[in-house]
């Protein structure tokens, strides 16, 4: 028998699932005592190169409120050609096409190695992918130029049959018509006026076309592609659009001294959503919003155009001094929900030195599965490469994106689903396996995930419903089935089904087993997600207190300090940004976010991970820190002096050169794969950017205890934060006293 470690790893590799507990306590009471709920991180579209999709449709349980998919856990009577649903125990006949089934001739979905299986559904017309660029033109010339180039470049990355559209905005919102020859046409909207979806469609002339059509021709849905002049296949308008983008000018309206440019982000999004709603409902589409500053007018305005009024800070928010916050948030939430209903996702690419209103707008991406990318400028490799990576392809040459996903969770009777945390919205599908207790987005067994990437991961929380006095029989297994329907980037409709099972265990007799089945990493991330989810809706300190009250292991120290829960030193936008990524990345990445990884490079041996502690900061080391959002290469004092002296240029110090190069190579490797691209920082002892490192490490040495501890190692951190040591001491005391 493999170790739990191996088991966990194997499960993750095969099914993209990591449970906090791999043995489930058999009653509600026991489960509650365990503090960390039975829950899992599920990566619906985990890349499975060795999983060829099957070309038929899944077989469903015939019970109306079950509809579970035939899976390896089902009992099958090959002779009677009947299978029993392992969730509701309904006995179902196989469909006629399974007539040839036998023990020797089993369909894939019955084989144990296909606990995860993917079906290709042939129903309905193939829907093209849609990319709608929504571009802010209130940018600096340099930024705009860079953005234009990125956008032009992206055209070559899009699948040729994908539809593209372009909306630009500044003081006004322009929807560009792409089909026309000759004069470039665009429809213009006032940036201050909130319009209903119907009005927008009327103004764009969409409704009329739908009604009248061309004479005598029947109006078929796919005709929309032909008639909608705003969304056209890339291959047809490639040139046109490239020119159009090339001619994009900065918003021409003068910006008086002391004012911000008027930026109608709210209306632009409303138009984008309205346009897609009217033309391609329930078709995979990506609205890509590029902004260089906060919305300053109209609905969704985040800050006024007076420069003397700064954009809201956490301080303002706490003092209830952010006058546009609630209104704007409400506005964007409404948009996000409309968009989600239609299966359209919204990306936000925000590049500005100041805040851009991500706090208010985050829901756009969070609810629709869109990306948020935050940078300083469109003219940075951070943005350029991140943007390019949006269109990265997998081993099959397909885009690493899927659309219009619907994730359904089915549980066996002893288990109910409390909720999910991830880039999704509830579909409000009530069913027998929905718990009344909500954790995250609850009250449903189905969630819509408008856009999915292979790494998109949801935290799903369960509840054991068995009463203590009616325990699950020994040796029983609980099962969970994840059914993910989505539109593949090659426009196919697909369904991926993952069915897993875990043993029930009696907490009293098998507590050691349960304990050993604990997946510390998964639990940490899942708890962190809960924390973040709460932090989004509650005040910061309350969340910390809640977290403190939970059973905590090592990670929690860093989590407490992380930007996911702490708002100190972060703008509201940054917090939103970090949280956004935290609730969607897979386990590994999430761990990095919680506790950054620190590697040390030295002449004394191969690179090694070291404690994220100030004591690791030594003069003769090079440190590489990966916080997910940042990659910091820190040259210790001595190394830095050597480098300054130029030893690496000398032949006899080739080894030094190699030492310098090693972290760069490693960093490069990370940069290659990470989405969004992390901020890359190359700094050294005493450098101003060293703060990125110093703020993360455990302040074991500070100005307070510096001399007491002796000076031989490490670098003191000027902070009043408690160190891990102090934290642990305190925690121990607390744990003991509370149990007393």
């Amino acid at each position: 028998m493999a170790t739990y470690q191996e088991f966990i790893q194997q499960n993750e590799d095969r099914d993209g699932v990591r449970f906090s507990w791999n043995l489930w306590p058999s009653s509600r009471l026991e489960a509650t005592r365990l503090v960390v709920p039975v829950s899992c991180l599920f990566t619906p579209l985990k890349e499975r190169p060795n999983l060829p999709p099957v070309q038929y449709e899944p077989v469903l349980c015939s019970r109306a409120n079950c509809k579970a998919v035939l899976n390896p856990l089902c009992q099958v009577d090959f002779r009677a050609k009947i299978w029993a649903c392992n969730f509701c125990f309904q006995r179902n006949p196989f469909p006629p096409s399974y007539a040839g089934i036998s023990e020797m001739n089993q369909p894939a979905e019955l084989m144990p190695q296909f606990s995860t299986i993917e079906y290709i559904v042939q129903r309905g017309p193939a829907a093209p992918l849609i990319f709608l660029y929504v571009v802010d033109t209130c940018l600096e010339e340099e930024d705009l130029q860079a953005l234009k180039e990125s956008l032009q470049m992206s055209l070559s990355l899009l699948p040729p049959n994908a539809l593209v559209g372009l909306i630009t905005f500044g003081r006004m919102v322009q929807v560009h018509e792409l089909s026309c020859e000759g004069i470039a046409k665009s429809y213009v909207f006032r940036g201050t006026k909130d319009l209903t979806s119907k009005q927008i469609q009327e103004m764009l002339g969409l409704t009329k076309q739908a009604v009248s059509g061309q004479q005598g021709r029947p109006v078929a849905p796919q005709d929309a592609a032909a008639t909608c002049k705003f969304l056209q296949p890339v291959h047809r308008v490639d040139m046109n659009l490239t020119d159009l983008l090339g001619e994009l000018q900065r918003d021409p309206w003068p910006v008086p001294q002391g004012k911000r440019p008027l930026r109608s982000t709210g209306v632009a999004l409303s138009v984008a959503v309205g346009l897609l709603e009217g033309t391609f409902p329930n078709t995979g589409a990506r609205v890509m919003l590029f902004i260089g500053g906060p919305p300053t007018q109209g609905p969704g305005m985040v800050v006024g155009d007076e420069l003397k009024t700064p954009i809201r800070s956490w301080h303002d928010i706490q003092k209830d001094n952010a006058r546009h916050l609630k209104k704007a948030t409400k506005y964007y939430e409404a948009l996000a929900n409309r968009s989600a209903v239609n299966g359209h996702s919204i990306d936000i690419y925000a590049c500005a030195l100041d805040q851009t209103g991500l706090l208010e707008m985050k829901c756009l991406s969070n609810l629709t599965g869109g990306h948020i990318v935050m940078g300083d400028s469109f003219n940075t490799s951070l943005f350029k490469q991140t943007f390019q990576r949006v269109f990265s392809k997998d081993y099959n040459g397909d885009f690493r994106m899927a659309f219009g996903g619907v994730l359904e969770v089915k549980t066996s009777r002893e288990l109910k689903v409390c909720g999910a945390i991830g880039p999704s919205v509830s579909l409000n599908s009530k069913g027998p396996c929905v718990s009344e207790n909500e954790l995250g987005i609850g009250g449903t067994s189905q969630w819509k995930v408008c856009s999915l990437s292979p790494s998109t991961t949801l935290g799903i929380y369960f509840e054991v419903v068995n009463q203590h006095n009616a325990p699950v029989p020994q040796g029983g297994r609980g099962a969970v089935q994840f059914i993910t329907q989505y539109q593949h980037s090659n426009t196919q409709r697909r369904i991926r089904v993952t069915t897993i099972a875990r043993n029930w265990a009696d907490a009293q007799s098998q507590i050691q087993h349960i304990e050993s089945s604990f997946d510390q990493e998964a639990a940490a991330v899942l708890m962190a997600r809960l924390g973040v989810f709460r932090a989004e809706s509650e005040e910061g300190p309350d969340v910390l207190r809640w977290l403190d009250r939970q059973l905590i292991r090592l990670f929690m120290f860093h989590l407490r300090r992380s930007p996911f829960l702490q708002v100190f030193n972060n703008s509201p936008d940054e917090s939103s940004y970090y949280r956004h990524h935290f609730v969607r990345q897979d386990l590994t990445q999430s761990l990095i976010m919680i506790q950054p990884i620190l590697y040390s490079y030295s002449f004394y041996g191969p690179p090694e991970p070291v404690l994220l502690d100030s004591s690791s900061i030594l003069p003769d080391r090079i440190l590489l820190m990966d916080t997910f959002f940042q990659l910091v290469i820190y040259h210790g004092e001595t190394i830095a002096q050597w480098r300054k002296a130029g030893y690496q240029e000398m032949v006899e110090y080739e080894n030094f050169k190699q030492l310098l190069q090693a972290p760069l190579d490693d960093a490069q490797e990370i940069l290659q794969t990470r989405f969004p691209m992390p901020r890359y920082i190359d700094t050294e002892h005493g450098g101003s950017q060293a703060r990125f490192l110093l703020s993360k490490v455990n302040p074991s040495q500070t100005h307070n205890n510096l001399y007491a501890w002796g000076q031989e190692t490490g670098a003191p951190i000027l902070t009043d934060d408690v160190s891990l040591q102090v934290f642990m001491d305190h925690l121990k005391k607390l744990a003991v006293s509370s149990s007393a």
């Binding site: 004069i183 213009v188 103004m203």
Partner: protein
């Protein structure tokens, strides 16, 4: 000839200077029994005095008088006899009248000449010859007794009958009976009264000896000059020989139709004035000087008063008191055309720069420095001529006075020596204290189905390419500073970015018509020269882009709103050229629905047809004016399009409205393009505000024009061009002094076409008099009718047409009666005596009442009526004059070698001949009328067709043929088109063809097609009214 007969100066006009003496003898009642006019006390007498005589005249006493005169009359008989010479017209009647009325012709030079219709016809001959026409014109007071009105009153008196020819009496009596009473009520009384026998034809009065026989125009009425002649004659003999030749009176006994030649003729008045003052230099150095007629070709030198091209007044001598003004009821008004174009031989306005402090102005009333400021105290102070405030002269402006008390630099400073000049305005005079940007023209083309289909859009686009080269530019500048922009629209608006840097224009669609805005800033309003390539490209593409449009709905208010927003955004003023096809029915602000209801015509609700429909447009006008956005509307409707509403904004923003019903490129294209070219190239000022200041004692109280008034004094105009005039009415608020006279100063603050802020100042000084006769002498009929037209057209917004017409007639009668009572020499009540300066006033007034807006006829299109109503509002004196009395020029006998244009004839059917060809134009329409017996060679020469029958129905231009006649006619037409503010479509009509009806409605001396009296009948009616007033 006839003219001389009646052409009469008001009794006083000339007479006074010379004739004071015997004038004294006139007028008084008592004298009459003896010698009629002469006996009485001096005429000058106050009204009160006058009255009694008058009334007596009207009364019974008359009879004796007439009898007394008989002898005289007889003496006159000689004249009549001589007159046979006169044309056929009079000939037929010649004999009988003579015999009958020998008496009538008053040979004597009555101080005042009085004519009766009849008389004139008869006397003409006589008078015509003796007195040199000019002088006669000047001197003769005119008295034209209209027949009808006289009739009743005359009949009774015994004496009259004797005069009458036996034959006549029969007709008379019926007349007298039928009469008046009943008919006057009817509304068009004159018609009835004038012709007892409806049929003009001679037969009616079969009894007449020589029924009007063939002679043109003379229906068979006998001539009746005789009757009055009696009175007139009387005096004449007694008269000192002084005025031998002067025609004299006539007493037209009323009867039916009178000789049309005997009543005052506009063409004659015009011709006389042209003869007298044409080619002369008119110096404006004399206060209260009456300028030549608008039709006269003269040159103005500015010597301290504004040229009459800029300001014309209804009278140049104001009554001193409000009471007098009220008594005479002559409106006191000035028609200001601040941007009037000057002929090449007149000096353009000087520009004065008073430096950073801005123009020197009176501290109290803010009047600008002008010739009426009196420098005192050695030049250190000056007294304002308007409010009498004494101001310090600013240091920089100080100058010593010469021995006359005039500044030494008098002749070097236009503001001291000229009536009109301009000041450079400082920032204080600019919006937001920022210098204005150059103005912009935005072309807004309706590209809905109708306009595309008619080919209009293509026509406009093609034309704009060349037209834009000719935007108005500042003297000496190579290019125009005016920016241009383009918008097309149907239900939504398309803006175009035509920035020079672009390879292709960009179109921006704005569908949010509920809240219009301008989607772009740079590149919308551009310099044509810079962006020519892009604009060409655009103009080429527009017709194609919409070639297969099926959109037939349009919006309108949002289009204007868009213009306003564009100007606001660009911080400039300018003009919108909107080419619109139909009533805006698309869902948007300012949406209109058809409310044309012929049933309302002639009811109290008729006014609603003229009232604009929605308050949206009201607000829009306000916005337009506030941002200096002038709107010119070119409308191409195929059906009712609610002109009253659609033209509301243009008519408040100094804009023009052009209407081309059922537009077709082939027939109307040229016509439209001519209008467009004129309109684009006009000299114009933007974002204007005008203030009329007056000296103490009177002030401007009411304003008529394509203007917007946000308060009671500031006349705001988004733009004002060379054809727009504002009529300003004055009222007394104190007594005026004869000595100092009255001053007015119109100050117009505006932005030039190159974006400079200027103040244009026009100063005018008027006389004041406590004698009404002065006023009547200084009246200007053309200005008067301009005022009446505008005020009547405004009144119909609030009152039933019937009331308005009544008021007009009453006021006409009142003005004339007042003259008669207070100024004219006493004479028989039956005589119609008109002041010389106003003798053609009735014909204008009659014509005004026959214009479409004032005639309640269901046959007229509501849109046309509303259109005319609004366009007249902005017209200057020249335009209203021409509109109300079209030029009818015979062309069949044109001298192809002569430089001089042929002389117009009176606008009456009687003047047409079967073999003739006539050109009629009134500034709005133009007709070439071909008599049915037109000689084939004429047709051949003009049309290259063998005969009239070959003429196509809808020809609208003459072919270019190489023969003298064709060239001449075409040059006459084109020079007219050149001269008029609007282009006119040439209608070619054949006599007796259906389209002739259109033509006929412009023969304003005839009975109106849609109702309205003939000139003659009207005169009679007015006369009767006057007599009623006098009794």
């Amino acid at each position: 000839m006839s003219q001389q007969g009646y052409v009469a100066a008001p009794p006083y006009s000339q007479a006074q200077p010379g004739m004071g003496a015997y004038q004294g003898g006139f007028g008084s009642g008592p004298a009459q029994p003896l010698y009629g006019h002469y006996g009485g006390p001096p005429q000058a007498p106050p009204a009160g005095v006058m009255k009694s005589p008058v009334s007596s005249v009207a009364g019974m006493p008359l009879s004796p008088v007439s009898s007394q005169y008989n002898p005289n009359v007889q003496q006159n008989g000689a004249h009549p006899q001589s007159y046979p010479a006169p044309p056929a017209v009079s000939a037929p009647y010649g004999q009988p009248p003579h015999s009958l009325y020998n008496n009538m012709a008053s040979p004597g030079p009555p101080p005042t000449q009085q004519l009766t219709n009849q008389m004139s016809s008869m006397n003409l001959g006589n008078y015509g010859n003796p007195p040199p026409p000019a002088s006669s014109v000047a001197q003769q007071p005119f008295q034209a007794p209209p027949p009808s009105s006289l009739a009743p009153q005359h009949m009774p008196p015994g004496p009259q009958s004797p005069h009458m020819s036996p034959q006549m009496s029969p007709p008379q009596s019926p007349q007298a009976n039928m009469p008046m009473a009943g008919q006057s009520m009817a509304g068009t009384p004159m018609a009835g009264t004038g012709r007892p026998f409806p049929g003009p034809p001679p037969q009616g009065p079969g009894g007449f000896q020589q029924p009007g026989l063939a002679s043109a125009g003379q229906p068979g009425y006998p001539q009746q000059a005789g009757q009055f002649g009696g009175y007139m004659a009387g005096p004449q003999p007694n008269m000192p020989g002084g005025f031998p030749g002067a025609p004299s009176a006539l007493a037209g006994p009323p009867q039916k139709k009178l000789d049309p030649d005997s009543i005052p003729s506009i063409t004659q008045v015009i011709e006389d004035d042209q003869v007298k003052q044409g080619g002369e230099v008119f110096s404006t150095n004399i206060r209260g000087q009456v300028p030549p007629l608008v039709t006269t070709d003269f040159t103005v030198t500015d010597q301290g008063n504004a040229s009459p091209r800029f300001i014309r007044c209804t009278t140049y001598s104001l009554p001193c008191t409000a009471d007098l003004a009220k008594q005479c009821q002559v409106p006191l008004a000035a028609i200001v055309k601040p941007f009037a174009s000057l002929p090449k031989n007149e000096t353009p306005l000087y520009v004065v720069n008073h430096g950073d402090t801005g123009p020197v102005r009176c501290n109290r009333c803010k009047a600008y420095m002008c010739p009426y400021m009196q420098f005192i105290d050695g030049g250190r102070r000056y007294q304002c001529g308007f409010c009498n405030c004494v101001n310090e002269v600013p240091v920089f402006y100080f100058q010593h006075l010469d021995h006359m008390g005039r500044r030494v630099d008098f002749y070097e400073r236009p503001e001291l020596s000229l009536g009109s000049y301009e000041f450079v305005a400082t920032l204080d005079y600019c919006k937001n204290n920022k210098p204005p940007n150059p103005p912009a023209y935005i072309f807004m083309i309706d590209v809905s189905y109708n306009n595309i289909k008619s080919g209009l859009v293509k026509l406009i686009c093609d034309e704009l390419k060349t037209l834009l080269e000719k935007l108005p530019r500042e003297e000496g500048m190579e290019n125009s500073a005016i920016k241009v922009g383009f918008v097309t629209y149907n239900k939504v608006l398309h803006f175009y970015n035509v920035k020079s840097a672009l390879a292709q224009p960009q179109m921006m669609v704005v569908s949010d018509t509920a809240e219009m805005f301008v989607p772009l800033l740079n590149g919308f309003l551009v310099n044509y020269q810079d962006s020519r390539a892009v604009i060409y490209n655009l103009l080429d593409q527009i017709p194609d882009m919409f070639a297969d449009t099926s959109e037939s709905e349009t919006v309108f208010a949002p289009v204007i709103q868009a213009g306003v927003e564009a100007f606001k955004a660009a911080e400039c003023s300018g003009k919108l050229f909107i080419f619109h096809s139909s009533m805006p029915t698309a869902e948007a602000p300012g949406k209109l629905k058809n409310r044309d209801d012929k049933k309302l015509v002639n009811t109290d609700k008729e006014k609603t047809l003229f009232q604009p429909q929605k308050s949206v447009y009201e607000q829009l006008s306000k916005d337009c004016v506030a941002s200096g956005c002038c709107v010119d509307l070119f409308l191409f409707p195929s059906q009712y399009s609610d002109m009253a509403t659609m033209a509301d904004v243009p008519s408040h923003t100094g804009g023009s409205v052009y209407k081309y019903s059922n537009f077709q490129v082939e027939t109307d294209g040229e016509h439209f393009l001519r209008d467009l070219r004129k309109d684009v190239q006009k000299s114009i000022g933007f974002d204007a505000i005008m203030r009329v200041r007056t000296s103490t004692g009177f002030r401007a109280t009411d304003f008529f024009g394509a203007v917007y008034m946000s308060n009671t004094t500031d006349i705001e105009m988004a733009a004002v061009d060379c054809d727009k005039a504002v009529t300003v009415e004055f009222k007394h608020d104190d007594t005026l002094s004869e000595e100092t006279g009255a001053f007015m100063q119109c100050a117009l603050l505006y932005t030039t076409i190159s974006g400079q802020r200027r103040l244009r100042i026009h100063n005018l000084s008027l006389n004041c008099s406590s004698q009404l006769s002065e006023l009547y002498k200084s009246c200007e009929t053309d200005s008067l009718i301009n005022f009446f037209a505008k005020s009547a057209y405004r009144a119909i917004l609030n009152q039933p047409l019937k009331n308005v017409r009544e008021i007009l007639v009453n006021q006409t009668a009142h003005m004339l009666a007042c003259y008669r009572k207070n100024c004219a020499s006493p004479s028989a009540a039956s005589q119609l005596i008109l002041p010389d300066a106003m003798k053609v006033f009735p014909v204008y007034m009659n014509s005004l009442m026959k214009t479409a807006p004032l005639v309640g006829s269901t046959e007229l299109s509501t849109d046309d009526r509303a259109h005319q109503r609004l366009s007249v509002t902005a017209m200057g004196v020249e335009d209203t004059q021409l509109l109300l009395y079209p030029r009818l020029t015979p062309l069949h006998n044109v001298d192809v070698d002569s430089e001089k244009p042929p002389a117009p004839v009176r606008c009456s059917e009687e003047r047409l001949t079967d073999s003739g060809m006539f050109l009629l134009e009134n500034g709005q329409s133009m007709f070439l009328w071909l008599g049915q017996a037109s000689p084939p060679d004429l047709i051949q020469n003009l049309f290259n067709l063998p005969s009239l029958a070959h003429l196509q129905g809808h020809m609208c231009a003459l072919p270019e043929l190489d023969n003298p006649l064709s060239k001449k006619v075409r040059s006459i037409i084109s020079s007219l088109l050149e001269k008029r503010p609007n282009s006119m479509k040439l209608h070619i009509v054949r006599q007796r063809d259906k389209p002739e009806m259109l033509f006929r409605q412009f023969l304003v001396e005839d009975k109106g097609l849609h109702g309205g009296a003939s000139y003659m009948d009207f005169l009679c009616y007015v006369h009767r009214e006057i007599r009623q007033l006098l009794t």
